[in-house]
């Protein structure tokens, strides 16, 4: 199988700051990490390759610094990595980003499966995976919590919903976005880290992927961020249990029971 795993480098912090002028994320001085959901996508790709053979290609779009994350992907088992890097990509929204990624996937060619994390933790849109499917006119299965039998032509996917899950069979090639329940991502080995440092990361620009410049960057982005606001503070509901230890323990068990936590 030829599997492409889309990976995004994101700020490794929960305290995301927005530049009030540009309305973009402030990335300077913030540790960059692989988007946590993408680690599950990568692991799924590696597991499928281990089971069926083939190769896993990690694909990312971003600044040069994103090479670090692609090297991490190689350390975790990806066979090769491609970075889309050019000024033409800057300012792309999810539609333009998914267009660029889809053009890169076309250039890679003969791809059986594209796997993405369900969303990135910085933008939280969950639109890029489905966007790639739309641009490539491929079937998609989002929020996959498990993958069953995979053949040359189909994949069995369990999709998670708020109310439960459904099991579907999707024709390949397809795009699958995954949630955290799907596997336990491996920690890179030292051997993997050493190999990743020596790996050559392929860098493509808009010409390499034959992309229409008008569909990239700000020009190719139909959405604009006009205003950002922090989410409303969550109301904490803290209950203090007072009394003798035995009495407290009894009350605690009662409270846990009525919430069906024990």
């Amino acid at each position: 199988m030829k599997i492409v795993v889309c990976i995004k480098q994101v700020p490794g912090t929960h305290e995301v700051r927005i530049d009030p002028e540009t309305k973009r994320l402030v990335r300077e001085g913030v540790e960059a990490i692989m988007n946590p959901f993408d680690t599950y996508a990568l692991e799924q790709g590696v597991l499928l390759r281990e089971a069926h053979g083939g190769e896993v290609i990690a694909l990312s779009m971003g600044p040069k610094k994103a090479e670090e994350t692609l090297r991490e992907a190689i350390a975790c088992g990806a066979d090769q990595a491609i970075l889309l890097n050019s000024r033409a990509f800057a300012g792309s929204d999810t539609w333009a980003t998914s267009y660029a990624l889809s053009m890169a996937i076309k250039k890679i060619g003969d791809v059986d499966l594209v796997i993405c994390g369900k969303q990135a933790i910085d933008g939280d849109t969950a639109q890029v995976g489905p966007g790639i499917a739309a641009h490539l006119d491929l079937p998609q299965a989002t929020n996959a919590s498990a993958m069953g039998e995979v053949t040359d032509t189909t994949a069995n996917v369990t999709r998670m919903h708020e109310d439960g899950y459904d099991i579907c069979e999707v024709d390949l090639p397809a795009v699958v976005t995954v949630v955290k329940d799907i596997n336990s991502p491996r920690i890179p080995s030292l051997k993997g880290r050493m190999a990743a440092r020596k790996a050559v990361i392929t860098v493509w620009n808009e010409e390499d992927i034959s992309a229409d410049p008008k569909l990239l960057g700000l020009d190719g982005s139909p959405t604009r961020v006009v205003e950002t606001n922090p989410p409303p503070a969550r109301h904490s509901n803290t209950m203090v249990i007072e009394g003798e230890p035995q009495e407290c323990a009894k009350k605690l068990v009662h409270e846990l029971r009525i919430r069906t936590l024990v």
Partner: protein, 264 residues
């Protein structure tokens, strides 16, 4: 382990490079240097396992990748519950292949990126969570006679609870005990020594920053307190002449050269 105590062999903790190291080459070089220093001095190298939940490379992979020499009696690998079954068995198999005998088996500190062994996969479905006790039983069952297993003892936990836990660990196959860092005499450790007739290794805190132990000991240690780690180590030897000593956060430039004149 009694042999280590009789021969005044220090247990020296060597922290492996972290997974997110930005200077991996330097860190590997430093690890290599410390490892060989400890070995050459005739002490026992103790390699931690994702200590404090910080992701770091495994002792076994460092030994393999750096092709470090192994003297069966001079290396101790820490091993905790935060592994996949495959990795866990892989570590044990590498230990056997490389001749590592001494393991310090602990429950460990988790990290959201680390998997945790499930009771069912190591054959103990009756427990809700795998602890060092199940690890000991598993290792004894699957790799009988291959390892010399040690366990941790925390004198800062409620006494009865900790003694019960230690009893379970001893019943499961523990052959020696290593304490949490001690600052002078500790009555609970004294009691433990009287009750469990196993070799005991006391941990010496070799950082000048004693306040970093606040969380461990359960009370606030003043940040400005003056602490002389070498004097504290000498004191521990006087208090516990029949125990081994485990050195945490040892300074390799200034403290290491002094060791040879301390435990004589």
């Amino acid at each position: 382990m009694q042999h280590h105590i009789a021969n005044k062999i220090y247990h020296v903790e060597v922290l492996p490079p972290k997974q997110n190291s930005e200077k991996l080459d330097e860190d590997l070089e430093r690890f290599d240097m410390k490892y060989r220093m400890v070995l050459d001095a005739g002490y026992c190298v103790c390699i931690t396992d994702n200590s404090m939940g910080h992701l770091a490379f495994q002792g076994t992979e460092l030994i393999e990748e750096l092709d470090l020499p192994v003297d069966s009696d001079q290396i101790m690998i820490h091993l905790n519950t935060f592994h996949s079954k495959e990795d866990f068995d892989g570590i044990l198999t590498t230990c056997i292949d490389r001749g590592v005998q001494h393991l310090l088996v602990v429950s460990g500190d988790g990290n959201e990126r680390l998997p945790r062994l499930e009771p069912e996969e190591i054959g103990y479905p009756e427990v809700t969570v795998v602890t060092s006790v199940e690890l000991l039983k598993y290792i004894e069952r699957e790799y009988p006679g291959k390892f010399n297993l040690g366990v941790a003892f925390n004198p800062y936990e409620p006494e009865q609870h900790e003694f019960e836990k230690l009893q379970r660990k001893v019943d499961a196959g523990a052959k020696y005990i290593i304490t949490q860092p001690l600052i002078g005499r500790n009555e609970i450790v004294d009691k433990m020594k009287g009750r469990f007739k196993l070799p005991v290794v006391v941990e010496a805190w070799m950082s000048k920053k004693l306040h970093l132990l606040s969380e461990c000991v359960g009370y606030e240690i003043d940040e400005n307190i003056e602490y002389d780690p070498i004097a504290a180590l000498q004191n521990l030897h006087e208090i516990y002449p029949d125990c081994g000593v485990y050195l945490a956060l040892l300074g390799y430039k200034t403290q290491f050269p002094l060791l040879k004149d301390i435990w004589v």
